[in-house]
Every structure is written in structure tokens, then in C-alpha cells.
């Protein structure tokens, strides 16, 4: 079996299984070395880059799975009558991003950073399988340490944690005042207007004090 044929067989397996398949499973049942299998998968990936292809290989660590290309979702959604999936809530996303960059981390540390209790968000992330128990902190009370799962990587489209942008990318973005390209057009707008409303409220509150005093 040459690499081309191996690529074909692997495509068949991934298509037939539907689910994710690990490198070791592929090696075992095909009786091939990891590097042979990896090379064949590279051939597939190359192939899928063509615009004439509508599928892709999703790799999370050493597991592989086929999926449709997200950019075609609008066309596919209609004909396959898919229900709109709902994304994570703001609270869950905030909690998730703290866990992603600070893992392993305790609930208390997350609460402190967010300024509000995160226990319901954490429960939700656990239920969704995006985070898991990553041991205990050797401190009084031995609190649970949370870390992200492979399901998290799949949800945000990374093949490993190493692919996440450095924390510094974001902290520098702060100094440059919202010059982050990665941020969409939609979300920050909403965020800003939210912020603006709050600012207005507080400014009104703080602004009104001198006049109230003057009136006395």
C-alpha cells in the first residue's frame, strides 16, 4: 500500500466512523507506523485545501475527524435542516478563557478575577465537557484545579493548546486601545455600548453629587 492508497483508506475510515479516530487506532488496524499515517493524512489535508472540496480534517492532538468546512455552513444548513446551535454565554466564555490561560486554576482564582461568582458557569462548562477536574491544589481545603479538555480545543478550533495566541498578544492589545484584529465587528460593538451605558449611568451618578450638595 503506497501513501496515496493509504490516504484513500484513511479517508474511508474517517468518513465511515464519523467519530474521531486516534493515530494509534489507525496505526494498529492498518499495521502502519505513525509517520506513514501522518504522511498520508498530510496528503488528505493538502487535497482538502482545494475550493472544490467541501470537507476538511479536524485534528485535535493525535485524533482525527472529518467535518464540513465552516465557511460553507450557510449553504449546508438550509438543505440539511439543521437547528441553530447556541454558543456559550458571556459568563461561560469569560470563565473558559481564564481557565484556558491560567490552567490549572481554582474556582476562587476565577471568581477573584471576574469579580463575581463563577460556580454556575463552571458547572456548565463541566457539563459541556469543555473543562475537567485537573487535580487538587495543595493548600487548605484542597480546592479543585480546573483545566481545559480536548473538547475545548475542538470547540474553538485548535489542534493543541500551543496554538493559542500568547497571553501577551492580548495584554498588548489593551495598550494599543482595541487594535486587535481578531476581534469581530459584532461583539465589541455590543460590548462597547454596554460599557457606554454603564459609564453614562455612573457619570450621571457621580456628576449629580456636587449639585445635590449645592442645593442643600
Amino acid at each position: 500500500m503506497d501513501s496515496d492508497m493509504l490516504a484513500g483508506v484513511i479517508e474511508g475510515i474517517l468518513f465511515g466512523a464519523g467519530d474521531k479516530i486516534s493515530l494509534s487506532e489507525l496505526c494498529q488496524s492498518l499495521n502502519k507506523t505513525p509517520s506513514e499515517v501522518r504522511f498520508a493524512i498530510e496528503i488528505l489535508k493538502q487535497d482538502y485545501q482545494s475550493r472544490a472540496r467541501g470537507i476538511r480534517v479536524v485534528q485535535v492532538k493525535d485524533t482525527y475527524q472529518l467535518s464540513t468546512k465552516p465557511e460553507n455552513y450557510e449553504y449546508i444548513k438550509e438543505i440539511t435542516k439543521r437547528q441553530e446551535k447556541t454558543g456559550l454565554s458571556r459568563a461561560a466564555l469569560e470563565t473558559l478563557s481564564i481557565i484556558a490561560y491560567r490552567q490549572p486554576v481554582t474556582r476562587i482564582a476565577i471568581d477573584e478575577l471576574r469579580g463575581v461568582s463563577s460556580s454556575s458557569a463552571i458547572q456548565r462548562l463541566l457539563d459541556r465537557g469543555l473543562i475537567c477536574d485537573g487535580g487538587r491544589l495543595e493548600a487548605p481545603g484542597r480546592p479543585i484545579l480546573y483545566k481545559t479538555t480536548n473538547e475545548f480545543l475542538k470547540t474553538v478550533g485548535f489542534s493543541s493548546l500551543k496554538e493559542m495566541p500568547e497571553y501577551e498578544v492580548f495584554s498588548q492589545g489593551r495598550q494599543e486601545e482595541f487594535n486587535l484584529e481578531i476581534m469581530t465587528n459584532e461583539t465589541p460593538k455590543k460590548e462597547t455600548s454596554h460599557e457606554e451605558m454603564l459609564t453614562e449611568m455612573l457619570e450621571k451618578a457621580t456628576g449629580s453629587e456636587p449639585s445635590a450638595e449645592a442645593a442643600q
Partner: protein, 231 residues
């Protein structure tokens, strides 16, 4: 948190110089316009107000010299924390766009391949079954989460506006003497109505020249119309 960051960056406000009374007034004013408010903003405002109060309270408390952190340290810590939080907000916006993109990927179910051979007995962990089901449900229901578990919203039985009218009426009838707080409370009054009565009184003190006279703490107090007294 959002707002605090904003204000600190703009240097408009010193964390320790936050006028609590003013914020509380604003809070009250907001209650009136509650209906047309975005609940998200409203709850954030409450959280923020509470936070400011806490900071203020800490600043007002006598400093303990044995404390490891002095006031400036606490402030610096807060600023650091705020900036950090801001960074994580940006990260979560970034994750959101990635998540949205990935939601467009469609996975496929396995092809049906009949196997004739006798299969090994299965053992399924019921917990995994339950988790599986919950995960499926959550994918459709996540958006309900932001504020918390479903709660019954209790209809407001007593409004401050109505109560103010009621009190004004009582004061008019009582004349110069005024009325005592206990006179405003009927025997089978609910806790909620007591609170509303008190709130209304406080509102009236602020807006319509009412004065409260209490001779000693923990006893009933008298409510008088200031305008008439002066006049």
C-alpha cells in the same frame, strides 16, 4: 468591572473618592425606569455599585497597622486585577469568534456497517449516559444561562409611587402633628410593604421636603412635612 476599568483609564475618578450616596440615588432612579432597562446592564450596575461600596467601606475603616497590605497596595492590586480582567474579556471575545466559526462545521454519523460476529458484552456507565444527554441539551439552551437559574419573578404588589401618594394623604389628614411611622403600618402588613413604605419615606425626604424625627434610636419616629413647619 468594565466600567471601573474605563474610568480608571480615563483617570476620571479615584477609586476611593466614590460618592456612595450619589450612586445610591442613581440606583433608586434606575429602579423607576426598571421596565425599559436592559437587565444585563441593570445587574452589572448593581454588581458595580456593590463593589464600589465595598471599596469605599474598606477605605473608611480604620487602618490596621499589622496588616500586610496598606491602602495603596490594595488599590494597586485592584488596578492590576481590573487590567487583567480586561485582557480576559478580550480573550473571550476572541474565543467567541472562533467558537462561532467552528459551529459551522458539521460532523457526520458513522456509516452503518453490520457485523455478523457475536459481540463482546457491553457495559455502559449510567453517568456517561446522563452526561451525554445533558451535553446535547446544553447545546441548545446555553443562551438561557447568563443570569442564572430560572427564577420566579414576583409581581410587585406595592409600588413606591402609590405608597408616596398614600403617605401624602395621611400627612394631609394629620396636619401639623405629622404621623408616626408605626401609624403608617397596618396590623397585618407584610414585610415587603414595610420595606416599600420605608423606601417611599426616604424618597420623600429627598424630594419633597419631609422630615423625620426620632428622639432615641430603636423607637418609633415621627414624620412631618417640613414646608408647613417652616411656614
Amino acid at each position: 468591572m468594565d466600567l471601573l476599568i474605563h474610568l480608571i483609564q480615563k483617570n476620571k475618578i479615584d477609586i476611593c473618592d466614590i460618592p456612595i450616596a450619589a450612586i445610591t440615588n442613581e440606583y433608586l432612579a434606575q429602579i423607576k425606569t426598571w421596565q425599559d432597562m436592559d437587565m444585563d446592564v441593570a445587574s452589572d450596575f448593581i454588581v458595580m455599585a456593590a463593589r464600589l461600596l465595598e471599596i469605599k467601606a474598606r477605605a473608611l475603616l480604620p487602618q490596621n497597622k499589622d496588616q500586610a497590605e496598606d491602602e495603596e497596595d490594595i488599590q494597586a492590586k485592584l488596578v492590576r486585577q481590573l487590567i487583567e480582567y480586561k485582557v480576559f474579556k478580550e480573550i473571550s471575545a476572541y474565543f467567541k469568534t472562533r467558537e462561532e466559526r467552528e459551529q459551522g462545521a458539521i460532523y457526520r454519523d458513522p456509516e452503518y456497517i453490520p457485523t455478523n460476529e457475536t459481540e463482546a458484552p457491553l457495559e455502559i456507565d449510567p453517568v456517561s449516559l446522563e452526561l451525554c444527554f445533558k451535553r446535547l441539551l446544553f447545546q441548545q439552551e446555553e443562551e438561557t444561562e447568563d443570569i442564572a437559574p430560572p427564577q420566579k419573578i414576583i409581581r410587585e404588589l406595592f409600588s413606591i409611587e402609590e405608597k408616596i401618594l398614600e403617605i401624602t394623604e395621611a400627612l394631609l389628614q394629620a396636619g401639623d402633628e405629622g404621623v408616626s411611622f408605626s401609624e403608617l403600618l397596618h396590623p397585618d402588613i407584610t414585610r415587603e410593604e414595610v420595606v416599600v413604605t420605608l423606601l417611599s419615606l426616604l424618597e420623600m425626604v429627598k424630594t419633597s421636603g419631609l422630615r423625620l424625627v426620632q428622639n432615641r434610636v430603636f423607637i418609633d419616629f415621627q414624620i412631618e412635612r417640613e414646608v408647613e413647619k417652616n411656614g
